[in-house]
Amino acid sequence: MSHYFEVKDLHFFYGKVAALAKIDTTIEKNKTTAIIGPSGSGKSTLLRTFNRIYELYAGQSATGKILLNGQSLLASNIDINQLRKKISMVFQKPTPFPMSIFDNITFALKLHENLTKSELSNKVEEALVQAALWNEVKDKLHSAGTSLSGGQQQRLCIARTLAIKPDILLLDEPTSALDPLSTGKIEDLIHELKKEYTIIMVTHNLRQAQRISDKTIFMADGKIVEQADTHTLFTQPKDPQTIHYIGNE
């Protein structure tokens, strides 16, 4: 049986230094997967191979297989922009573009779809509602995205990602730069999004992984130490490293 999203024997290098070694995992459709592990364990690096964003930098390379519905994502003939539309990413810190809230959302949308003005407005509203930001910004859609608070900015970033209807949502510690209140809002949001999207999230926060995810992958030193459904991993960890890490938190 083939899986929705599958990683086979993935290795990753910064120059000659191996950062990921022999990564094998599967991710199911419409489930949330959390990647946890100490700093420098390769969590973010793994996430960055999924949309091939690492290719922006010289000397970074990946070998092995990443398959989405059986299609190899590391193949050289893949339309990289289409891939990044399908597998979209939200970063650690909020990154609003230097334009209005409205334009932040339509910027990528306009590129991927041919829409009329009213269709665009509808899509913007839809995305902002989905990202639970609509009520806070509906009266100031044309003010700068940077004028929002940190938590609102992050929801704006999620909204503009949702607007392009990705299949998979990659979240790289999306709440690490936010206060508890904003974090709570984003977590509620992820709970809602689970129903429609496949989410892969890197987090430092073990409670967050427990609260949100269906499956958890524990990484250390560029390898997957243990992976299981979240409940099992947190209640009956098998590997001593996992026990140690979870126990210490």
Binding site: L56, A58, Q82, S88, F91, F97, P98
Partner: protein, 276 residues
């Protein structure tokens, strides 16, 4: 205990001496600037009247010099700014730190520190000697001076754009060239405009590169294939004359350059102001 008190007293004295020293140096530099401005105003206003805008240099006006300066500076910036900003983009955005990047940056730095008189002589040898003194030759010389300045300043500004912001745009499937134009340039807008304005202000006052290229022309001319009057060259020429009225006109021309540069700075700030 006494040791502690003593050290705290010497520390306070040192601290205050240093603060005083900083104040004094700041006052000295401000005084120099004020002195220049005051002299410029006092001597420049002497010959300032409406006629400098309606008469040419041959009739003790500045019309042809102002128009020549504005034409040459304006075209030189229109030519050099895009090339310079694209060069800076290449330096910042190229994925591999290739040899071409190193060579380009090195060449640019050399060009940046080349004395402007040498640029003038270069354009004279290559172009003027084979054609004649012309506005075009002046534009080329000014462009060569402006280009490395804008490249350098733009490179610094473009480096400051957060890599995460660019990644965020690319992660939405937006092609790289679009990210550069819509995100990188936009975030760096204020800095890029400042870079261009500073270069404009600098070449507006350059006389050395124009002496051997656009030369001088005491009549009003819009013909770039012929010699063209400019404010700096006119100042240089007139300041050497023994006639007080010509010297006084040179002061007025100096005042005009300063006013132009000031206006440009103000308008640039206005254009680049954050609208939120």
């Amino acid at each position: 205990m006494s040791l502690l008190i003593k050290s705290s007293i010497t520390r306070r004295i040192k601290n205050q001496l240093f603060t005083l020293f900083c104040w004094l140096t700041a006052i000295v530099s401000i005084l120099v600037l004020l002195n220049i401005l005051f002299t410029l105003l006092a001597k420049g206003l002497h010959s300032f009247n409406i006629e400098i805008f309606t008469h040419d240099t041959r009739n003790l006006g500045l019309r042809n010099a102002m128009i020549g300066s504005l034409m040459m500076t304006g075209i030189a910036i229109i030519v050099s700014a895009p090339i310079a900003i694209l060069t800076a983009t290449f330096l910042v955005e190229s994925k591999k730190k290739s040899r071409l990047v190193t060579i380009t940056r090195f060449t640019n730095d050399i060009l940046l520190s080349t004395p402007s008189v040498i640029v003038g002589l270069f354009v004279y040898t290559i172009i003027v000697a084979n054609t004649r003194f012309s506005g075009f030759a002046g534009i080329i010389a000014l462009s060569i001076i402006a280009m490395p300045m804008i490249t350098r300043a733009s490179e610094d500004v473009l480096y400051l754009v957060s890599p995460m912001l660019k990644e965020a745009a690319i992660a939405l499937g937006i092609p790289r060239w679009r990210v550069i134009i819509m995100i990188t340039y936009r975030s760096a807008k204020t800095g890029l405009i400042t870079a261009v304005i500073l270069a404009t202000a600098r070449i507006m006052g350059e006389s050395a590169p124009l002496l051997f290229t656009s030369a001088k022309n005491s009549f009003l001319s819009f013909d770039l294939t012929r010699p063209l009057e400019s404010l700096p060259v006119m100042i240089f020429e007139n300041a050497m004359q023994p006639y007080p009225n010509l010297q006084s006109l040179a002061w007025t021309a100096a005042l005009m350059i300063t006013v132009f540069v000031l206006l440009m700075n103000l308008s640039a700030r206005w254009i680049a102001r954050d609208k939120t």
